[in-house]
């Protein structure tokens, strides 16, 4: 009751203040015009602020402005994207004309931080701004992909499947679980993927890398935060319509060299004969079913030309009080595999408006998207046997099978056990039969209301209420018709899965911002806030089978219809505060604290506190230090703080009973229930402590901008499902707080800008290093094994682990004199080193064979303009890691009926002894296929990819004026033109599991794309 009353009285007081404030300020009016210093053209939409307040305006289409200021002694700050800020004291003038200097595209002056903005020069934490314009020159279905190579310390790994979600890591593997950063769009956390959002809406991107910058998002910020703002309109601007579109052709340019029919049969027969077995009839020239008329090049028949296209319409403008920006976007990316998918389509629309009058400000965002994805996942009930990704099945398929066979139901050819003996998947054909589709409908709305409670006497107090709701409906359908495809892959019942998942996130935030400048030199900003967030997921699936032809694949038309479903909820309550203090633009301090409570932990472990502090020193503003002439700016900053992570499943702290455990008594079904998983009840927040030291400098009249940083972060109480012995009998690896990880690295970015004369350009380069070390693994520090890897205290995560080879046995004598390997070891087999000298080669002879984590990442961007032409070249890469390629190993494996890599032709034979490739023998008695450092088993991942080369042309204004067109730019672009690599697979920058970062399970090749595009503004 009491609080209600107080609220009311407070509002009255606040209103009173506000009216007084308005009354008090109508004193002095300034007007003028803003032009570009180099071209003398007028600049619209330049921001003009009264220093130390939020009062301001912007220039109109003619570059003119008019502003009423509280006092004729105030100071104006002019800012505009791509130009240097200008700070001009009014000194009683009524007309102030300004010419603004363009500046390097990076280093925009206003930085968006959590719950607010900051001047670049005031920033003390580690925040990287991404040049949104440059970033958007790369085309991808997921905006996160565009971060690749752009920011020092941000590693993006992705594949070439349309719609695939890239793996983004900020400053290394900070955790064992989900290590994706948190994305915040227009102030609203949207989770760890932004695939549903259109890159065309992006106005700015900042990456918060250290604790100081990210601590305000404490609970989920441990993996870093990517803050994205979307476009808004400009005040007093007539409607501007822009269209951008492109069309491109995708083609997989790499081919894995595999053997044709004759060599395949020869190698296969050799392996069988060496093992004393009969050869497969289809490979036996003496057999009636010998195959000599089929020689399928699966990559040739399975890969096709893909395409991509994007259309974007943007409407923006604004009046005296309201601005708007509306966009419509369509993306269609058709993949490069023959058959049903992978394809990805996205339709999206956004409406952003901001209204402002007096002490009130209101803004809203409404975003809706529909996507339609045909991904390459398939039902394991039909394609049994632990299939690899389809691209691996495609490349490894034997050449002695055709694609089609009309006598089979479904028309696909398949292997026969009495002819081929092989189990291979006919990818181009099965990919036409199976139809999986994912439809996503996402509605994302947010609105804020801001009240200027106080703007008087240097006191500035604002209250902001922000609410948002994000709802995603996902419909997954999977249709499998009846088909026959050889002896192994068959489906006798046509079946349909039709499922839906609904995800919602509701968020409410209350923040108070207080700002005060005192004694002219002290500037203080205080933020207090509270948020509550609730998320839910609902899953349900319908299944139906035995459809009859002609097919009408809806659930009603099958039999044995079953339904399944589950529901989850989580909530997060948080309180936070931040203090920014600036003394004379020389000394800067930021201190943050956040307290979070999460439903994912038991009541005793529910809350976590995440404090941080950082200091900055603008050396160039210091009087007693005279910097050399060539240094125009120099700032040194340091930070320390803690961040949290709760990115785990819901309810994991309770032991539950699986209530659906079936059995039958002589044919009568019963449903039992028993505990099948083990939980750890005392899980708590994962905490990451980071230290950051940075330096920002500009040289030679701001032509060079340099930023260098060193960071060190330690993640403690890592939440991870640690593998436990199977002898425990649980079906899971319980999530526990296990382990401690350290990441450290150096980050550099350097920009050179030439912005005078006809030929202007920017060169941006970034480089980052990464060192990862496991400090503890919880419990008894038992090592964790991954695919060919071992993670152990003292080393980095997921190092390659296996045997050391010492060449190839050339004689029985050599075998007899060597440690015992296997009863079947023969000349031509690999020699493994007896590391512990016990006379036998066994698991104890394994050791570390190299890193799976790239130790450095780099990116290079050049963009230039000459008269009406513009050029861009963008390249990026990584290095210092080794790749274990599932595909290459399968092609070189000696035990299965699969095709071979052409490297296999150089295998050991009694005639070809000078080789490092062991003999062909079925059954691989010596286990030559084991994890080891043998040639090709671990390959150098170092590479450089030419991501983008583009040339654009702005049509001359004269030409356009008659058509009412403001500007038109046409361009051609090549994307992923070439990759300089040692790796014998497709992508050296594949995505992978935490504990096997260097294991490539079968990343879909990134296509080479040629595009043409146009941007028109009306």
């Amino acid at each position: 009751m009491k609080s209600h009353l107080q609220q009311k009285s407070l509002l009255l007081i606040a209103l009173f203040f506000a009216f007084c404030a308005v009354d008090a300020t109508a004193q002095h009016t300034v007007s003028g015009r803003v032009i570009d210093a180099s071209t003398s053209q007028t600049l619209p939409a330049v921001n003009i602020l009264v220093k130390g307040t939020t009062r301001g305006t912007s220039t109109d289409a003619q570059g003119e402005y008019e502003l009423t200021v509280p006092s004729a002694t105030d100071t104006l700050v002019f800012s505009y994207v791509g130009y240097q800020n200008q700070t001009v004291p009014i000194d009683g003038r009524t007309e102030i004309n300004i010419s603004m200097q363009p500046q390097a595209l990076v280093g925009e002056d206003l930085v968006v931080v959590g719950y607010g903005t900051q001047q670049r020069q005031d920033v003390t934490g580690s925040i990287s701004q991404v040049d949104a314009g440059e970033m958007k020159k790369f085309s991808s279905s997921d905006p996160a992909d565009l971060l690749q190579g752009r920011v020092a310390g941000v590693q993006v790994r992705s594949n070439g499947e349309p719609g695939s979600i890239p793996d983004v890591q900020i400053r290394g593997v900070g955790t064992f679980g989900d290590s994706q950063p948190l994305y915040v769009i227009d102030g609203v956390p949207v989770g760890t993927s932004i695939r549903d959002f259109s890159p065309n809406d992006i106005e700015s991107v900042q990456v918060l890398k250290d604790a100081s910058a990210a601590a305000i998002y404490g609970s989920r910020a441990a993996n870093g935060v990517v803050i994205i703002t979307t476009k808004t309109g400009t005040k007093e601007t007539p409607l501007q319509v822009k269209y951008s579109g492109y069309y491109g052709i995708d083609q997989v340019w790499q081919r894995i060299p595999v053997t044709g029919r004759q060599n395949y049969q020869m190698l296969s027969n050799e392996g069988q004969r060496n093992a004393g077995l009969t050869v497969a009839p289809g490979n036996d020239p003496n057999s009636p079913v010998y195959i000599d008329d089929i020689n399928t090049d699966w990559q040739d028949v399975g890969l096709k030309r893909g395409q991509r296209m994007n259309h974007n319409l943007n409407f923006s403008g604004g009046g005296e009080y309201t601005t708007y920006n509306i966009s419509l976007d369509y993306l269609n990316n058709k993949g490069t595999l023959v058959g049903h998918g992978p394809d990805y389509k996205r339709y999206s629309g956004r409406i952003n408006t901001v209204s402002e009058k007096g002490i009130f400000k209101f803004g809203q965002t409404l975003y809706y998207t529909h996507t339609d994805e045909k991904a390459l996942n398939y039902e394991t009930n039909v394609l049994t046997g632990g299939r690899p990704p389809m691209i691996v099945d495609l490349v490894t398929a034997i050449p002695t099978l055709g694609v089609y066979d009309e006598s089979n139901i479904g028309g696909c050819a398949g292997t026969e056990s009495d002819i081929h003996r092989a189990i291979i998947l006919n990818v181009p054909c099965i990919n036409q039969l199976l139809e999986g589709e994912t439809y996503v409908d996402r509605t994302f709305g947010s609105a804020y209301a801001q009240l200027q409670l106080l703007d008087q006497g240097g006191h500035n107090l604002r209250y902001k209420l922000n609410v948002s709701y994000d709802r995603t409906n996902v419909r997954n359908t999977y249709w499998v018709p009846e088909f026959e495809m050889g002896f192994f892959f068959n489906n006798t019942k046509a079946r349909l899965n039709d499922g839906e998942s609904i995800y919602t996130t509701a968020l409410i935030e209350n923040t108070l911002t207080y700002q005060k400048e005192f004694f002219g030199k002290h500037d203080m900003k205080l933020l207090l806030g509270q948020t509550f967030q609730k998320g839910s997921s609902v899953f349900r699936n319908g299944y139906s089978e035995q459809f009859t032809q002609p097919y009408f694949p809806v659930l009603d038309n099958g039999t044995n219809q079953t339904a399944s479903g589950s529901e989850f909820e989580n909530s997060l309550a948080s309180y936070f505060g931040r203090l920014n203090y600036n003394y004379d633009d020389r000394y800067l301090l930021t201190a943050t604290i956040r307290r979070d409570g999460s439903s994912r932990f038991a009541p005793n472990y529910r809350y976590g506190n995440f404090p941080s502090a950082s200091l900055g020193w603008n050396v160039h503003n210091e009087n007693f230090i005279q910097l050399p002439e060539f240094i125009s700016k120099l700032k040194i900053r340091a930070s320390y703080g803690q961040l949290g992570n709760q990115n785990i499943g819901d309810y994991l702290y309770t032991n539950t009973v699986n209530p659906g455990v079936v059995y039958n008594w002589d044919g009568s079904k019963v449903i039992g229930g028993i505990q099948t998983q083990i939980s750890s009840n005392d899980i708590k927040w994962e905490t990451k402590t980071t230290k950051n030291i940075g330096l920002d400098a500009s040289f030679l009249d701001n032509k060079f901008d340099l930023s260098a940083e060193y960071y060190n972060s330690v993640t403690d109480d890592i939440l991870v499902g640690v593998p436990i012995p199977l002898s425990v009998g649980a079906n899971n690896s319980p999530t526990v707080n296990a382990g401690k990880l350290e990441n450290s690295g150096l980050e550099f970015s350097l920009t050179y800008s030439k912005y005078k004369g006809d030929f202007t350009f920017d060169i941006t380069a970034n480089l980052s290093t990464l060192k990862n070390k496991v400090l503890s693994l919880g419990g008894d520090d038992e090592p964790i094994y991954g695919v060919g890897t071992k993670t152990e205290v003292g080393g980095e995560v997921g190092r390659h682990f296996g045997y050391v080879t010492e060449g190839i046995f050339q004689s029985q004598e050599e075998i007899d004199n060597h440690a015992f390997q296997n009863a079947g070891t023969s000349p031509g087999d690999l020699i493994f080193k007896d590391l512990n000298d016990d006379g036998v080669i066994n698991a104890d002879d394994r050791t570390y064979l190299g890193s799976g984590i790239p130790s450095f990442n780099y990116g290079l961007n050049f963009t230039g303009q000459y008269k009406n032409f513009d050029f861009t070249v963008f390249a990026s890469g990584m290095g210092g890691y080794k790749i274990n390629s599932r595909m290459y190993r399968m092609l070189m494996l000696t035990s299965d009926y699969l095709n071979y890599h052409k490297d296999m032709l150089d295998r050991w034979t009694p005639q070809n002894t000078n080789t490092d490739i062991p003999r062909r023998i079925s059954g691989d008695p010596n286990n030559n296929g084991r994890n080891s450092d043998r040639e090709g088993w671990l390959q150098d991942g170092t590479h450089l990819r030419i991501n983008t080369v583009s040339i654009g042309y702005n049509l001359p204004k004269k030409l356009l004026d008659n058509y009412g067109v403001q500007s038109t730019r046409v361009y051609v672009k090549g994307q992923n033109l070439y990759t300089f690599q040692y790796y014998k697979g497709f992508n050296p920058d594949f995505t992978s599991g935490t504990f096997e970062p260097g294991f490539n399970n079968g990343s879909y090749p990134k296509p080479r794309t040629f595009m043409v595009g146009i941007d028109i503004a009306f």
């Binding site: 092989a422 079946r495 207090l528 399944s564 059995y663 199977l726 009998g729 296997n822």
Partner: protein, 527 residues
């Protein structure tokens, strides 16, 4: 305008107060969310219905890939001298050829699923004794848990030689159970079967409780038979014979078993849970029990099928995967003797698909002999060949007979032979031969030496229990792998033994397990 500057801090205070209120009132109780999908273990284990559900859930561990759904049959049959791999799946023929890498998936599944079964029995043994439910029902459920746990360790001990024992719910941080000695392991097995025998009823026909009439639950007869078998495997001959007599002696309440007339009735769908069966794993097709998700492994749900993959895995070329073939030696072994009517041993026809015009057996799944080679042979036992229902991919409903009465007779004979009673041994061997209509050689056998009788038993068991996941265990316990002559003989019978080296008769301890658990020791097959 505003002169009173005190107003400002006051406002601030109030605002802060309101924000603080919002924080406190808002949310902390909203952080208590309960899982709407599953009961917690704290609320379970209360009612009779809970106990019944838990008891059924244990049995689900028997129908996964690593237990009886596929790999216990496949990996044990594959190692016998009567069975050879004919598969493009490396994991299977590596096992058949005794060349198994410790990273083998199917071997890991066998390990994993048996411990899944054990974990579930441990839960029942932990919670049910303290539950407030009918004592009779409680005893029966506890008895079944002991039986299933004993069976799981019996399989683990036979296949891996030495494994860790988990006989209670694991404490957090105490997951790394050490390898137990063979003695400890077999003590565990014998104790479990003893406890099962004491607690279980002879049948569920007349029990008083919700489990009344539920055919397929473990009985005291099953426990007694398995207890005797465990004694036999430990060469405790008298103990073994004593247990078997409880099943044979007509004065014993447990002596309710008899051989069925038609040998094939032990391996088909139509005669499941028959008078010869002491314990069998209940499989059923989706037509009977529904389900749309294959019951290979891992987290069960109510849409699971309850099928066996064994039939399709074994089924003849063109009708299934034909992953294994009977060895020529086994075929010839069946042809050593004819029936009293001058026909071939009917068990040959029931075990092996072969071209037998003399026996009027020349079709495969109803088709006239489909192969150019009339000497080709394929497995028939545990497939649907010749049965009314077709081979539906990996969805066979044939129950797996874990223990049948013929084995009790044969094991009793073996125990008596080892105790020096060759005449008694001869009698029980002949009982099994009689069903196959083989000549009565009881008198001849009764005159055999102990060693001759052992050889005869080895021959009789090879035929009676071919393709029943027993042979490799018999060979191991008979010490054949320590006898170079026997090894040579096995190599003659089945060239897969050429790549056998000492220790390879076992499955290796999975490498993943050795990597994770530092207290675990490798076994002789790990090299």
């Amino acid at each position: 305008m505003i002169a009173n500057k005190n107003l400002i801090p006051k406002t601030m205070k109030k605002l802060t107060f309101i924000i603080a209120l919002l924080m406190i009132v808002g949310c902390s109780d909203q952080l208590d969310l309960t899982n709407p999908n599953e009961p917690t273990s704290d609320t379970y284990w209360k009612t009779e219905a809970d106990a019944m559900r838990a008891s059924s859930a244990m049995y689900n561990g028997l129908i996964m890939d690593g237990t009886y759904m596929r790999m216990i049959p496949a990996l044990t049959d594959g190692r016998s001298d009567g069975f050879q791999a004919d598969t493009p799946w490396p994991d299977l023929w590596q096992v058949a050829a005794f060349n198994v890498p410790a990273t083998s998936g199917p071997v890991e599944w066998v390990w994993r699923e048996h411990y899944v079964l054990i974990y579930r029995t441990n839960q029942v043994l932990h919670y049910v004794p303290d539950m407030d439910i009918d004592q009779g029902l409680k005893d029966r459920i506890v008895g079944q848990a002991h039986f299933l746990r004993g069976l799981a360790y019996f399989n683990l001990a036979n296949n891996f030689k030495r494994v860790p024992i988990s006989d209670a719910l694991p404490d957090q941080d105490e997951y790394n159970a050490p390898t137990a000695s063979e003695d400890e392991l077999w003590t565990q097995i014998i104790d479990d079967f003893k406890a099962a025998k004491e607690n279980l009823p002879v049948t569920y026909d007349n029990v008083d409780g919700p489990d009344q009439g539920q055919v397929g639950r473990a009985t005291s007869g099953a426990a007694t038979g398995m207890l005797g078998k465990a004694y036999l495997y430990r060469q405790r001959w008298q103990d073994a014979a004593d247990e078997f007599e409880l099943l044979i002696d007509n004065n014993s309440p447990m002596a309710i078993y008899s051989l069925v007339d038609d040998y094939r009735h032990n391996f088909d769908v139509a005669h499941e849970n028959n008078s010869e069966s002491l314990f069998e794993v209940q499989f059923a097709t989706p037509d009977q029990v529904g389900g749309s998700v294959m019951n290979y492994c891992c987290e069960p749900n109510s849409n699971w099928m309850q099928v066996s993959s064994q039939a399709y895995t074994y089924a003849a070329e063109g009708y299934g995967y034909s992953d294994f073939l009977p060895s020529r030696w086994l075929y010839n072994e069946f042809n050593q003797e004819q029936t009293v009517n001058g026909n071939k041993d009917p068990r040959l026809i029931d075990t092996i698909v072969s071209y037998e015009p003399g026996e009027n057996s020349t079709t495969v799944y109803g088709d006239p002999w489909p192969y150019t080679d009339t000497t080709a042979i394929y497995p028939r036992k545990y497939t649907n060949e010749g049965l009314p229902q077709p081979e539906l991919r990996e969805q066979s409903g044939i129950n797996y007979r874990v223990l049948r009465f013929a084995d009790i007779y044969m094991m009793y004979a073996e125990a008596q032979n080892e105790l020096g009673n060759q005449a008694l041994a001869a009698e029980y061997i002949q009982r099994v031969r009689d069903r196959a209509n083989l000549p009565n050689r009881q008198t001849e056998f009764a005159g055999y030496t102990q060693q001759e009788m052992r050889d005869q038993i080895a021959h009789e068991r090879a035929l009676e229990f071919a393709i029943e996941a027993q042979r490799i265990h018999d060979l191991i316990r008979w010490g054949w792998f320590d006898d170079p002559n026997k090894v040579e003989m096995l190599r003659q019978r089945d060239p897969e033994f050429n790549s056998w080296s000492p220790g390879d008769q076992y499955l290796p301890i999975p490498q993943r397990e050795l990597d994770v658990n530092p207290n675990l020791e490798p076994n002789p097959a790990n090299n």
